[in-house]
Symmetry: C2
Subunit: 219 residues, 2 copies
């Protein structure tokens, strides 16, 4: 498929690289089409990899990943032009972490709202799905690095978007039963507010290479 | 030991019942010493069980559990008299859930503060430990109901309090390596903000009988 990844940081590079490995046509979007990190990424990833502005990337992608820092996600959607997201699955990985007062980060949106809900409102014709925002980039695309199956979550208002996201996640290596559909987009409040615990666990464990496995009482 | 449990709801009854089973002397504290639920609990739990006002309970207990609803925790500390908590381990299980606008609950305190921090400030001479607030009551005291080992967290400023809490958790059945010390009391922001995800998982799974197992990359 033709897939856009907006964002050139570790998450963007990791997702984009995995999508190339899987055989997709991938455009990495950034503020300028000559962004060094994006150009370098495309040069190293062969002919299926390309670069463009946010708007060019959003136009090209049949599926669009939001892999930017959470504090610029909404601004970047405006740069990419909201109409370019219409009738497409938009996978929002970004977290509204606010490091302006140092560590630990606060959340710039939380409690009775979420970044994912703001994203859905900004692109009402898109099928926004929040997922993958609860773990480190490398594990997003290679869950088998962990010695046991762990779980991730889906939040979204549109069944079609969630199905497409689930299919891609399975391409990434997530077993179907490990992908938990939490419900509509407001459930992203839960996974976004999980980040403060994730950050402290990173501190306590000294590594970001962990995830949670949901264990239920046996019947 | 002499242990006070403040709160007569499901969490309070479950914790108090387990402590009796383990051989402790347990007083259940409530607004009035003739609280029906507390008296009924004591009647059913033999001579090591007693009841009292919040202040009587806090005076009696060498360890004090805060097992009330989060929206009244701070008020109940005042009723119990802050000085009665001094130099004691205080285990705060309460969550600042606000159901005033229905489901899903909001958090009345979150992001850059936590209920646990407010509790510690209200009783500065106490050793406040936040723990057990991330799972349902029955699993708090019987983690082996789950088919695999799962994890819980400790937050607190005082090593002595965390050691005493850890020892009690081990009496409850938690293996030492499943009790993760997140750090100081501010880390309770993480576990309290985990509740919105917990609530949505309860909805998605249809049962509260689950917990998380932390899975790390093998070395």
């Amino acid at each position: 498929m033709k897939i856009a990844v907006l964002g050139t940081g570790v998450v963007g590079q990791t997702i984009a690289g995995k999508l190339i490995q899987l055989g997709h046509l991938v455009i990495m979007g950034s503020r300028s089409a000559t962004n060094e990190k994006a150009v370098s990424w495309a040069t190293q990833n062969g002919e299926r990899a390309s670069v463009g502005t946010f708007a060019e990337a959003a136009t090209f992608g049949e599926i669009i990943f939001l892999a930017t820092k959470g504090d610029v996600t909404l601004e970047i959607i405006q740069q990419a032009k909201p109409e370019n997201f219409s009738n497409k699955t938009v996978i929002d990985i970004s977290n509204p972490l606010d490091f302006s007062n140092g560590f630990p980060p606060a959340l710039s949106i939380s409690n009775t709202n979420s970044l994912a809900e703001k994203v859905q409102k900004a692109i009402p014709e898109a099928y926004v799905v929040k997922t993958l925002n609860t773990l480190t980039a490398q594990l997003m695309v290679e869950p088998s690095r962990l010695p046991e199956e762990t779980h991730i979550f889906l939040s979204g208002n549109h069944a079609a978007g969630k199905e497409q996201a689930r299919a891609l996640l399975q391409e990434f290596g997530w077993q179907n039963q490990t992908i938990i559909d939490l419900g509509d987009i407001t459930t992203a409040r839960g996974t976004e507010q999980f980040l403060p615990l994730w950050v402290r666990l990173y501190g306590a464990l000294g590594t970001p290479n962990f995830n949670f496995k949901l264990v239920r009482e046996s019947k």
